[in-house]
């Protein structure tokens, strides 16, 4: 079941809209944690300029092959380019931000 959250159009101080795809395997603790963590990060750091889709591999198993997914959870930043990927339940926020290429200045306590 994919879950799209669109924060609407609001003024963005830096780069354009972030399009994120989170691949999870069912509703295991790891999956839930990843979803929760990602939503939090998006609200805090990308408010108003992100589009997040959660893909459950158990329901959409063909996507695993189509989108080259091996690990779960996997987060893919489709936009802005270049495409970035990372694995894990996104608990290490700093790492997530670094890979998402979000400037440190935007980090809030």
């Amino acid at each position: 079941m994919s879950n799209k959250i669109d924060s609407g159009h609001s003024a963005a101080p830096h780069d354009g809209k972030y399009v994120l795809l989170l691949y999870v395997a069912g509703s295991t603790p790891k999956s839930s944690r990843a979803i929760t963590n990602l939503k939090a990060i998006c609200e805090i750091h990308l408010k108003g300029r992100y589009e997040l889709t959660v893909v459950d591999l158990y329901e959409k198993h063909k996507r695993a092959r189509e989108d080259q997914i091996v690990v779960a959870p996997t987060l893919v930043r489709c936009a802005p380019l270049p495409v970035r990927r990372m694995i894990g339940d996104l608990s290490l926020t700093d790492r997530v931000l670094a890979v998402l290429d979000l400037p440190p200045a935007l980090r809030q306590p």
Partner: protein, 581 residues
């Protein structure tokens, strides 16, 4: 949980790869993982792919190939050379190729994770074509791509457990490690069956070997076996049993040279025996070998001719000049040439290839010309061992083998062959006979087990009608061959002729003498009978005269009677007269 304790109960998944099912006694363990490890380019991917392709085409078991290093396209191209049409199999849903790509730079670890993505893909793949076979080539790609080995290892353990539950037979490939069997120690997870491939290049010669390192619960071959990768896939040629036991044939087959058959107890070679034909350069070994080949084909049997030096068209051209047409037998499929330079392969490969040719062509006779071509492929001990295995293999198959051997001449001719000559049943030697500035050739049978054979050297000659063996001249001056023999024969013939003429002349003279004598005798006889007649005439005349004298006297007496008073005296005269009368 059931444990497999006996090989009888261990189910096996046949690979369909020539020789592999033999050395594994039936195939890979069914429903279990097998590890195939080896260096780069040793053939692991090909073996794994062939396992799937044959599974799909021969055993109706669809397969999933998970490639971690090559893309689907690259894979298809690589195996196309083996004649495997992957695209067609994929289209028929007999095969599913999935290229799994894990990039290190995309694997920044942000927390806990597992390999559920992979599980989902694999499950999906297996279910979609109802696969019974799976290949993971090479799962080490994950080790390179993912950061934490700990997670990876526990996930792999989970994966193999899961695959076992799924009931699929899995082949996993891995690279050789420095000190461990595989770089990442995959052998920890895969303990049912481990196969190692080896690919060595020694002095530019490639030798491929396969070895079953471990196979739990069953008997298996433990040696290293040479294998080939050719246009129809992998093939393993286990030359395991070097038995000396086999039933010897009593049948004799002709050599193609009548006189040689005579020298060999009158009938030729024993079927299934081995023949060594040694000689110095240019003595005609190939001629003898091809004559034998032709005789074989003429009889309706097949002959495999392995040439290490000359190429087939050259041999055929050369033999045509002595009246042997090999081309027709090649066309009819009874004669097969295999021409390769000995240095292209190592000894093991040569053995494997020879057995492959023999298995595919089923010849009655195999000729190897010359075995000395193998001398550079190993030490003399190794070469002898290889030849011994080959000769034994051919004997077991009941195939007659003729091996030609190039040797340096002189006294060494027979000495240096001692190593190989002990392996063969018949040893023919072609030698140079040099005399008076000429080199002629002689052939003799040095040994031939199981039959009486001539110990004479016969002069060996090639003509447009083939090989001829003639007697050599043994005379007071020794053995003469060639033109000396011809000259001597001519001389002898001339001598015989002149002797004959002399005898005739003397006979004639005798006749004359006899005639003369008889003439003389006749003359003497005539003289004698003339004399005889004369004497007889004289005698009869004499008698007549006496008779008439007597009658005259009687007349006179009578006439005297008239006055015969005084004829008393006549009485005695009477008596004497009477006598006279």
């Amino acid at each position: 949980m059931k444990t497999i304790t006996a090989s009888k109960t261990l189910r096996k998944s046949p690979t369909g790869i020539r020789g592999l099912d033999e050395i594994t006694d039936g195939g890979l363990p069914a429903g279990r993982p097998t590890l195939v490890c080896g260096g780069a380019g040793c053939g692991k991917t090909l073996l794994a792919m062939e396992f799937l392709v044959r599974g799909a085409t021969e055993y109706d078991e669809p397969g999933v190939f998970l490639a971690f290093e090559e893309t689907g396209e690259e894979l298809a191209d690589n195996v196309a050379s083996l004649g495997f049409d992957l695209k067609a199999l994929v289209a028929r849903k007999k095969l599913l190729l999935d290229y799994v790509y894990v990039e290190r730079s995309e694997s920044e670890e942000t927390g806990e994770y597992d390999l559920e993505g992979l599980f989902v893909r694999l499950n999906d793949a297996i279910n979609s074509i109802k696969a019974k076979r799976v290949v993971l080539d090479t799962i080490e790609g994950l080790f390179a791509g993912l950061p934490t080995q700990g997670i990876l290892r526990s996930e792999l353990r989970r994966l193999f457990r899961w695959l076992k539950e799924k009931g699929v037979t899995v082949v996993i490939t891995g690279e050789h490690g420095q000190s461990t069997l595989t770089r990442y120690g995959l052998e920890e997870y895969v303990s049912d069956c481990v196969i190692s491939l080896d690919h060595r290049v020694v002095e530019q010669v490639t030798t491929r070997r396969i070895r079953i390192v471990k196979y739990r619960g069953t008997t298996h071959g433990t040696n290293e076996y040479p294998f080939l990768i050719e246009k129809d896939g992998l093939s393993i040629w286990p030359i395991t049993s070097v038995q000396v036991e086999h039933t010897a044939s009593h049948e004799r087959i002709p050599t193609g040279i009548e006189r040689l058959d005579t020298m060999l107890g009158g009938k030729g070679f024993y079927r299934g025996s081995s023949i060594l034909l040694s000689g110095t350069a240019g003595t005609g070994k190939t001629s003898v070998a091809t004559t034998f080949a032709e005789a074989t084909c003429r009889r309706g049997e097949r002959c495999l001719y392995i040439s290490f030096e000359e190429n087939p068209s050259q041999i055929m051209r050369n033999m045509a000049t002595i009246g042997i047409d090999l081309q027709q037998w090649v066309r009819k499929g009874r004669l097969q040439f295999q021409n390769v330079r000995a240095f292209h392969f190592g000894l093991e490969m040569h053995l494997a290839r020879t057995i492959k040719f023999v298995t595919e062509f089923s010849p009655a006779v195999v000729i190897i010309d010359p075995i000395s071509g193998l001398d550079t492929s190993g030490t003399s001990l190794e070469v002898k061992a290889a030849l011994m295995r080959l000769v034994d293999y051919l004997k077991q198959q009941g195939i007659t083998a003729m091996l030609t051997d190039l040797k340096m001449g002189g006294a060494a001719l027979e000495r240096t062959d001692a190593a190989i000559s002990s392996l063969v049943d018949t040893w023919l030697v072609l030698r140079d006979l040099e005399s008076n500035g000429e080199r002629n050739r002689g052939l003799h049978v040095l040994k031939s087990r199981g039959m009486g054979h001539s110990n004479q050297v016969r002069e060996f000659m090639l003509s447009q009608t083939g090989i001829q063996l003639t007697d050599v001249y043994i005379g007071p001056s020794g053995m003469l061959t060639g033109s000396a023999r011809v000259a001597q024969e001519a001389r002898e013939r001339a001598e015989h002729v002149s002797l004959d003429e002399e005898a005739e002349r003397q006979q004639l003279a005798l006749e004359c003498k006899r005639a003369a004598l008889e003439g003389q005798i006749a003359a003497l006889r005539a003289e004698f009978s003339a004399e005889e007649a004369t004497i007889a005439r004289i005698f009869s005349q004499d008698k007549l005269r006496e008779a008439s004298l007597a009658s005259d006297k009687v007349e006179m007496g009578r006439s005297r009677q008239h006055d015969a008073v005084k004829s008393n005296r006549s009485q005695p005269r009477n008596g004497s007269r009477g006598k006279k009368g």
